[in-house]
């Protein structure tokens, strides 16, 4: 579908465009968060919005995450469709009660009567030495707690479509963007962070995985920046004669279990790659999903690569040691093929 004349955007600009288009279309959509106004969001998710929509619809807040995320809930219940930004997901601990006990549960407690249509945007991920309170992904934790959808785009096209779908969804959606896929000018360049994005609004459905690359020998299931790592690894592996299928989950809630099972039934081998902590998280869930749906198809025990249950360390060699990368994925796949 990509043609030479197609417009390309970075993921960050695709997100900002999605929000702008929905704000244009729907008066009830507004944005609140720290530095979302004149700064345009620390990671640019709200770039240009203040100029276009003014301070009533693009609201800078105090550093009061419990206060303003709770306020977003109240506004959502009362006819608005707020987008609240938690600057880094690592900060969830100061406001998690509003997120998981309130935002995520009101609809259920009300027996379906009250709707909480809001989007909680948040930046996640490491790899640039921001240490243990600014580098986590934590999506496994959000996905563990019922009542919120959890979306993790890996590329510009999906980022726009998932954001529009999230804003239009009548449920609370946690929209987690990995800093490394945004294509920011001040981050390590990532060629996959820029790509074709249609100008007009469109949606990408929440809860549908994408096969980012087809393959026949092994399935690498992952999400976020490690989709890029897996695609890089797949190229290396291809040269070694191993055909790797890369599944980009795109959202953890709903989790596209069928896509996982289908891929494993096809390739018979599974490596799960996650930039979140290893234990009690996404890797275990995806492996268990494969066990539940494709046990008899497996030629080897599924394997996983994730952060080895340590806080994210600051120093580069330490951090690189704990984060998944293409080399580790290549090694992981090779071990799987041997096993």
């Amino acid at each position: 579908m990509t043609t030479l004349t197609e417009r390309k955007l970075t993921t960050q600009k695709a997100i900002a465009e999605a929000i702008a288009q929905e704000m244009e279309a729907d008066e009830s959509v507004f944005v609140m968060g720290e530095d979302v106004g004149v700064y345009g969001g620390i990671f640019g998710a709200t770039e240009g919005l203040l100029d276009r929509f003014g301070p009533d619809r693009v609201m800078d807040t105090p550093i009061s995450e419990t206060g303003f995320i709770g306020a977003a809930i109240g506004a959502a219940i009362n006819g608005m469709r707020p987008i609240a930004e938690l600057m880094f997901v690592d900060f969830f601990g100061v406001c998690m009660d509003q997120i998981y006990n309130n935002m995520a549960k009101i609809h259920y407690f009300s027996g379906g009567n009250v709707k909480v249509p809001m989007v909680l945007t948040t930046a996640c991920g490491g790899g640039y030495s921001d240490a243990g309170q600014h580098s986590q992904t934590l999506w496994g934790m959000f996905a563990h707690l019922p009542g919120m959808k959890v979306v993790v785009p890996s590329n510009p096209y999906d980022a726009k479509g998932l954001m529009i779908a999230a804003i239009r969804d009548d449920n609370p959606v946690v929209y987690m963007f990995h800093k490394g896929v945004l294509g920011l000018g001040w981050m390590t360049p990532n060629p996959r962070a820029i790509g074709p994005v249609p100008e007009e609004p469109y949606t990408v459905p929440l809860g549908k995985a994408a096969v980012a690359r087809e393959g026949t020998d092994v399935s690498v299931v992952t999400v976020g920046l490690t989709v890029h790592r897996a695609l890089d690894a797949a190229e290396t592996l291809e040269a070694k004669g191993i055909s790797t299928e890369v599944v980009d989950l795109r959202s953890l809630v709903p989790l596209d279990r069928e896509a996982i099972v289908a891929s494993v039934r096809k390739t018979h081998r599974l490596l799960v790659v996650d930039e979140d902590y290893r234990s009690f998280g996404m890797t275990g869930e995806v492996i268990t999903t494969a066990i539940e749906g494709a046990f008899d198809y497996l030629d080897a025990p599924p394997a996983r690569i994730a952060v080895p249950d340590v806080p994210i360390p600051y120093s580069r060699p330490l951090e690189q040691f704990v984060l998944p990368d293409a080399d580790k994925i290549v090694a992981g796949v090779e071990a799987l093929m041997a096993g």
Partner: protein, 328 residues
């Protein structure tokens, strides 16, 4: 400013309804559990926080509300919901865990959500405060003159959410009124063991908003202070903080031995019970005749009895309905 007779009487009628509701719930709650108390047993299982004694806070505020105003309340929500006019049958049914309840039995007594009138409550201390701020923010954005009320306890005033909520409301000049029900205890912890200053109303100055202490558990005193605060909010004058000294007559939850409060304290509370003092005043001032009082009590009791009968006779949700309503 004078108070219309109708308001004085309506407040009393609501008080009667509340107290009788709490008494009935208490009776049914304990009936099925005693003598060997099992919190999981009976027609009403789980924790039960009743508000007998705190009626004045709820009823004093309500005459000033209008359609579309929103309330967030606490783990001790019945009196406020009843005063606001939340459907009593659906509310009772929710407390009984029935499919006809406000939340089809999913929420229970700490999670009562009503749309008309707009009411919500929660089991987490101070959780509703930012939500009220957000409701007020929506009202302001929408250009309506509705207000949001946030009820919370003296214990809640030491939770971070209190601070963030009051600051946001004042910063954005939102139509929200914060109402602290100061019953001097957070479960067993007395206010002087939790709060560095005597009156939470004095904390309003930290946000540049008016703060008023109502030192009596008197519906009329609450009425007057709330009238001003709500009118100001409605007129775009911004938020206020009201603190009302009130009494929790019973234990923190049903089953609480209440050993941490002295017999003298409890006797003094019983003495000043607003269910005695307020009607006495209405009668002595000629606002109400004994006949009217009797009639009013009869009607209030009938409404409660009917609601409870409705709840009792309603069906439980189907077990597998537990899977519904996670997502819209």
């Amino acid at each position: 400013m004078e108070i219309p007779r109708d308001d004085l009487v309506a407040m009393y009628a609501a008080m009667v309804k509340i107290r009788y509701f709490e008494e009935r719930i208490r009776e049914i709650y304990l009936d099925d559990k005693l003598p060997a108390f099992d919190i999981a047993a009976g027609r009403i299982p789980g924790e039960m926080h009743l508000a007998a004694g705190q009626e004045p806070v709820a009823v004093g505020v309500m005459p000033h509300l209008k359609d579309g105003d929103a309330i967030t309340a606490t783990h001790r929500p019945h009196h406020i919901a009843i005063a606001q006019g939340v459907d009593l049958q659906q509310m009772a049914a929710e407390i009984f865990g029935k499919d006809t309840g406000l939340g089809h039995g999913k929420g229970g007594h700490m999670h009562l959500f009503s749309i008309h009138p707009e009411f919500g409550c929660s089991g987490i201390i101070a959780e509703g405060m930012p939500v009220a701020v957000g409701a007020a923010l929506a009202f302001k954005k929408q250009g309506s003159d509705n207000v949001a009320l946030s009820f919370f306890g003296d214990g809640a005033a030491n939770q971070g959410a209190f601070h963030e909520s009051l600051n946001l409301a004042a910063l954005w000049n939102l139509p929200v009124v914060f109402i602290c029900e100061d019953n001097r205890y957070a479960i067993s912890v007395p206010k002087e063991a939790s709060t560095a200053i005597a009156d939470n109303s004095d904390r309003a100055s930290a946000y540049g908003m008016p703060g008023v202490l109502v030192p009596d558990n008197d519906p009329v005193a609450v009425y007057e202070v709330a009238r001003e605060a709500i009118a100001r909010a409605r007129d775009g004058g911004g938020p206020s903080l009201i603190e009302v000294e009130t009494d929790r007559l019973w234990g923190h939850f049903e089953g609480d031995m209440d050993a941490y409060r002295s017999d003298e304290f409890k006797a003094a509370m019983a003495e000043r019970d607003p269910m005695k003092t307020y009607p006495a005043r209405l009668l002595s001032e000629g606002v109400l005749t004994p006949e009217e009082q009797e009639q009013l009590i009869k009607e209030a009791h009938a409404a409660v009895d009917e609601a409870i009968a409705f709840a009792e006779s309603s069906p439980y949700p189907r077990p597998e309905d537990a899977l519904l309503h996670v997502f819209a």
